[in-house]
């Protein structure tokens, strides 16, 4: 009896860190989820060679010894998708951290825990279909109000085709309750619950893809106005340490106008995740006025947690994002940081003794990155709704050097590139997004949205501002050698104009209650008053009036303070500034003419 049992269970033959080998391998299949030993450490089969299976274990393997049994789960690494995701914090393999704390106390141990989604919690289910209709995967069976802000749509699970025989009436159910029965073509009846499982490494299906055309508003001026990202788009934020990657990611996850935010802390600091956990229940979404946590799912695999689970965390997150997309929501996923994920790949590849490519990274780094970013997009879902997943990945290049493999490959697959700059950061100029190195491929795609919401001249205004910044960059080379005073006034005007754009528009304080979020209309007017002033400076220079007189006008002080002092969507104060600009410049021009007349 025991002999028979042994033959059916592979046993561990080798252990080195997270890499474990088991024999015989023919009992396991590729990418199958396994549980190792009595403690049931979670792992995944990542190679089958001859009769040996190579397993990546997502937990600490200290004490594991050859001869330990390996239990195949007959299923690929999956996540549970259903009501109960929102507001939760999971680790990289979807273990609920709240529950782990309850069970084990303040430190994370290893081994099997409960299911990811609570089976006890009761949800109010409202059916959306009548019995008798034909259904397919991805159709909305009913809804559950998950938080004040989010209505969770219960989707027919993958592979579910047939006639809806029974659907539960409106009422309170747990995840274990059957809420529908579907009879397949063969006559087999499938019982459906409010959740289902999906393998993380497989992207979820949709009907068709759209080109991104609606901006994902972030309330950050340098992004929205200068380098916008579209809903369903991809962006990368590369930057050395201390350049503000994480603050930028936090700002985006706080203020982006997505319905759902998935935030993955991948190999980053524990205290940062704690910061998110403390802030998000307190901060309010500017649109719904509900706490941000009610639209957020957090995945925390901090740098001291097992490295293999860090590799999985990215896929866990993107699968959840696709699931909410399939319900017709706009989802934004922040991954901080994809470099740590790439390093996890490298570490495991090293332990597998694979041939390294650049800097020790495996040769498949580029294709893995491409496959990840390709899971973004704006789609028509299987149920005919529109949803999107926008991906924003932080990159932490070693030494802040953008020519390293992860940054280089990422650059090939993303449409927006927000380059963070060490020099700007050390002058505490935030967000330290370098406006010369950054780019966005979505500008023309989103400009019609902006022109409709703000003004027909939005694109021109933005392009003019960029042009001034570029000219300024050229002039700065001279300034570095000779000083500002050496330039003629028509060139100094560019420098002064660029200063206004940099200090009063691009620079934005994440910690100021007013400035932390900037509405589109305010962004437009703020840039408008600056560019209008720059235009009027041209008149001053033409009239050969020393430039400093224009810079000393009282209205300049008002422009400086506008981003802090003008709140919300107020337009009136900006119009007043425009008016005052004209008045004061006219007066200046008039005064300069007068003495000549008198003389």
């Amino acid at each position: 009896m025991s002999l028979l049992h042994d033959e059916q269970t592979p046993i561990v033959s080798y252990v080195s860190g997270p890499v474990v080998k088991a024999e015989p391998g023919h009992l396991l299949s590729m990418n199958e989820m396994v549980e190792v030993g009595e403690e049931r450490l979670v792992g995944e089969v990542i190679g089958l060679d001859g009769n040996t299976a190579t397993i990546q274990v997502y937990e600490d393997t200290t004490g594991l010894r050859p001869g330990t049994k390996v239990f195949g789960q007959r299923m690929n690494l999956f996540v549970e998708l259903g009501p109960g995701l929102i507001g939760q914090i999971f680790d990289g393999i979807q273990r609920p951290l709240d529950f782990l704390k309850e069970k084990w106390g303040d430190f994370i141990r290893r081994g099997k825990t409960v299911a990811a989604l609570s089976r006890e919690k009761v949800w109010e289910f409202v059916p959306a279909l009548e019995p008798g209709v034909q259904i397919g995967p991805g159709m909305v069976l009913g809804t559950v109000k998950e938080t004040e802000a989010i209505v969770h749509k219960v989707l027919a699970p993958p592979g579910c085709h047939g006639t809806l025989k029974v659907i539960a009436p409106k009422g309170r159910y747990t995840l274990e309750d059957v809420i529908a029965e579907v009879e397949g073509p063969s006559g087999r009846v499938e019982k459906i619950k409010m959740f289902h499982r999906w393998p993380v490494r497989v992207s979820r299906p949709y009907r068709k893809r759209f080109m991104p055309s609606v901006p994902l508003l972030t309330g950050q001026r340098v992004i929205d106005t200068f380098f916008p990202i579209a809903k369903g788009g991809t962006a990368a934020i590369p930057g050395g340490f201390g350049t503000g990657k994480t603050v930028t990611q936090h700002q985006l996850s706080k203020w982006a106008d997505a319905d759902i935010i998935i935030y993955i802390g991948c190999g980053e600091r524990g205290n940062e995740m704690t910061g998110v956990l403390t802030d998000f229940p307190r901060l309010l979404d500017p649109r719904t006025k509900r706490p941000l946590i009610e639209r957020t799912v957090l995945i925390a695999n901090t740098s001291d947690m097992p490295v293999a689970a860090r590799e999985a965390s990215i896929y866990t997150g993107i699968t959840m994002a696709e699931y909410f997309r399939d319900q017709g929501y706009d989802v934004a996923l922040m991954a901080d940081s994809t470099s740590r994920w790439a390093e996890a790949l490298r570490e495991i590849s090293g332990r597998l003794e694979e041939m390294p490519a650049e800097e020790g990274f495996p040769a498949y780094l580029a294709s893995r990155l491409a496959a990840f970013y390709e899971r973004a997009g704006r789609v028509e879902t299987l149920s005919g709704e529109k949803g999107s997943v926008s991906l924003i990945g932080a990159v932490s290049p070693p030494g802040g050097d953008f020519s390293e493999p992860v940054t280089m490959h990422t650059k090939r697959f993303v449409q927006c590139f927000w380059a963070l700059d060490k020099e700007l950061a050390s002058a505490r100029y935030f967000p330290a997004i370098n406006y010369l190195e950054s780019y966005s491929a979505y500008i023309s795609a989103v400009s019609s949205w902006w022109e409709e919401k703000t003004s027909a001249e939005w694109k021109k205004l933005r392009d003019d501002a960029v042009e001034i910044l570029q000219e300024d960059a050229k002039l700065q080379n001279i300034v570095k050698l000779l000083g500002e005073d050496a330039l003629p006034d028509d060139q100094r005007m560019i420098i002064e104009g660029a200063k206004l754009i940099k200090n009063d528009f691009l620079q934005q304080s994440a910690f100021d209650p007013v400035d932390t979020y900037c509405q589109p209309i305010k962004q437009y007017y703020l840039l408008k008053v600056i560019m209008h002033f720059v235009d009027r400076m041209r008149d001053v220079v033409m009239a050969r009036i020393p430039l400093f007189r224009a810079m000393n006008l009282p209205v300049v002080e008002k422009i400086h303070r506008a981003k802090y002092s003008i709140e919300g969507e107020e337009v009136e104060p900006f119009l007043k500034i425009l008016e005052e600009t004209d008045q004061q410049i006219e007066e200046l021009l008039k005064r300069s003419r007068e003495p000549e007349n008198e003389a």
Binding site: D106, N271, G350, E359, P398, A427, K480
Partner: protein, 475 residues
């Protein structure tokens, strides 16, 4: 009977004789059975002395063991290897470790007995659940202007000092230890000092400093000196942090951990990785250097419902003063900021030679402001940064066009730069400035500049604090 049950009985440890291979700090033992990954190993040489080791990889036939203290003197035939059936553990208790000196492996060096009260603890610790962490936000006054004013340290933070060889990082660390404790009025505090590959005189200077400031009874020192085996350096910080976590989270103490020098630690890691034949990544360091460092640095913080905290000040010397070298680079990605020492300031005779521009404290914004330090703290600090950054540009310009040809405003910046370094950065080794002294000093300096340049502070603040500085100076 299953072997597993036997393993928990420490009298029944499995012992093997003979090594099939010896390479660098590693040995391979064949014909083993019932040994676990990461297990602690005792190696008894033919002359009878015992060395410690750890299982690095294990298959059904053989185990690879890393030997602390090195493999020299081991022979293949007569060496006996004992597998202890448990990971590397130490025993700590408050009364038995404070005021004491231990080796990097936690063995007493002061002639006293080894601690024996309490549970054995795995030196690798466990990750703190992010849900259980309490966000660090309690200001620690170090009395050093560049830190308190511009790179504020808070309880539970990990804030390294990036230094270069020959720079006074040890003096700075000692000054922090001397001055920072004054604020911890209400609860008891402890200092854990872990030395990795430092010179004997450096370790002795620290010990004397602890003694002179009268804190020696609150210090536990874990010393791995320059002539101790490199592999032991990999264990020393973990032993020290195990003690720190115990004091903080079980004995409610505020623990300040000084780790010096992390560069030596990383060198040791590279040495071991290379001898294992691992694929190197940047500059020959192993690909997992980041994760490995994180497993040390992340053992700082506060936990909800527990009174104590672990604050880390790791010290590392940047090879060739290069901040992009993998060691400072990866450290900077994990720690919550960095204090960067600068050779140029050091040459100018400025102590502490902290270059504030590349320095940073990520937790600063939550530890300062009204009710914690002062309402104007955030803005004046931001203004000082902006002004100093600008003044450095002006200095570069002045070196080309000459000081004479600078514009009026630029001349003011030029003067600001010098005064800032001389009065704000520079301070005595025993000078302990209160936070309001530091902030007032900052105001004195920015008021050297025209008010139109002060865009990071509000007009109200200029009125309240800036003008007060004028009055102060006239008095």
């Amino acid at each position: 009977m299953k072997p597993e049950t036997l393993r928990h009985d420490h009298d029944l440890q499995v012992e093997f004789v003979g090594l099939s291979r010896i390479q660098g700090p590693l040995v391979v033992i064949e014909g083993i059975r019932d040994v676990g990954f990461g297990e602690r190993v005792e190696i008894v040489t033919s002359t009878g002395d015992t060395r410690q080791g750890r299982v690095l990889a294990i298959s059904r036939q053989a185990a690879v063991v890393e030997v602390f203290h090195g493999t020299s003197g081991l022979d293949q035939e007569r060496t006996r290897v004992r597998f202890l059936g448990r990971p590397f553990e130490i025993i700590v208790s408050k009364d038995e470790i404070l005021g004491r000196i231990f080796s990097g492996l936690g063995m007493p060096l002061d002639g006293g007995p080894a601690p024996f009260q309490g549970e054995p603890r795995n030196v690798n610790g466990l990750p703190i659940n992010p849900v259980a962490r309490a966000y660090p936000e309690d200001f620690i006054q170090t009395g050093i202007s560049t830190i308190d004013g511009m790179n504020t340290l808070v309880r539970g933070q990990k804030l390294p000092i990036f230094s270069g060889s020959g720079l006074p990082h040890n003096d700075l660390a000692m000054q922090i230890v001397r001055q920072a404790r004054i604020l911890s009025e209400e609860t008891s505090f402890a200092i854990i000092f872990a030395a990795m590959g430092v010179r004997h005189d450096e370790a002795e200077a620290f010990r004397r400093n602890f003694e002179e400031s009268g804190v020696l009874n609150n210090v536990a020192m874990f010393l791995n000196l320059a002539d101790d085996p490199a592999v032991e350096r990999l264990i020393a910080p973990r032993v020290a942090l195990t003690a720190a976590e115990y004091l903080a989270f079980e004995e409610d103490m505020h623990v300040l951990v000084i780790l010096t020098d992390m560069t030596n630690y990383c060198e040791a890691l590279r040495e071991v990785a290379t001898s294992k034949g691992e694929v190197p990544s940047r500059k020959g360091y192993p690909g997992y250097l980041y994760s490995d460092l994180a497993s040390i640095y992340e053992r700082a913080g506060r936990i909800h419902g527990r009174k104590g905290s672990v604050t880390q000040i790791p010290i590392l010397t940047m090879p060739d003063d290069d901040i992009t070298h993998p060691i400072p680079d990866l450290t900077g990605y994990i720690t919550e900021g960095q204090i960067v020492l600068d050779r140029e300031l050091f040459r100018k005779g400025i102590y502490p030679p902290v270059n504030v521009l590349p320095s940073l404290s990520r937790l600063m914004s939550d530890g300062i402001g009204e009710g914690k330090t002062r309402e104007d703290h955030r803005n004046i600090s931001s203004q000082l940064y902006a002004a100093y950054a600008k003044s450095k540009q002006v200095e570069r310009l002045a070196s080309i066009v000459g000081e004479e040809d600078l514009s009026v405003v630029d001349k003011k910046y030029f003067a600001f730069s010098r005064e800032f370094e001389k009065r704000f950065v520079h301070q005595g080794r025993d000078e302990n400035r209160s936070i309001s002294e530091t902030l007032d000093l900052g105001w004195d300096l920015v008021m050297m500049l025209p008010e139109s340049e002060l865009v990071r502070v509000t007009p109200q603040e200029i009125e309240k604090y800036g003008k007060a500085s004028h009055t102060r100076n006239q008095e």
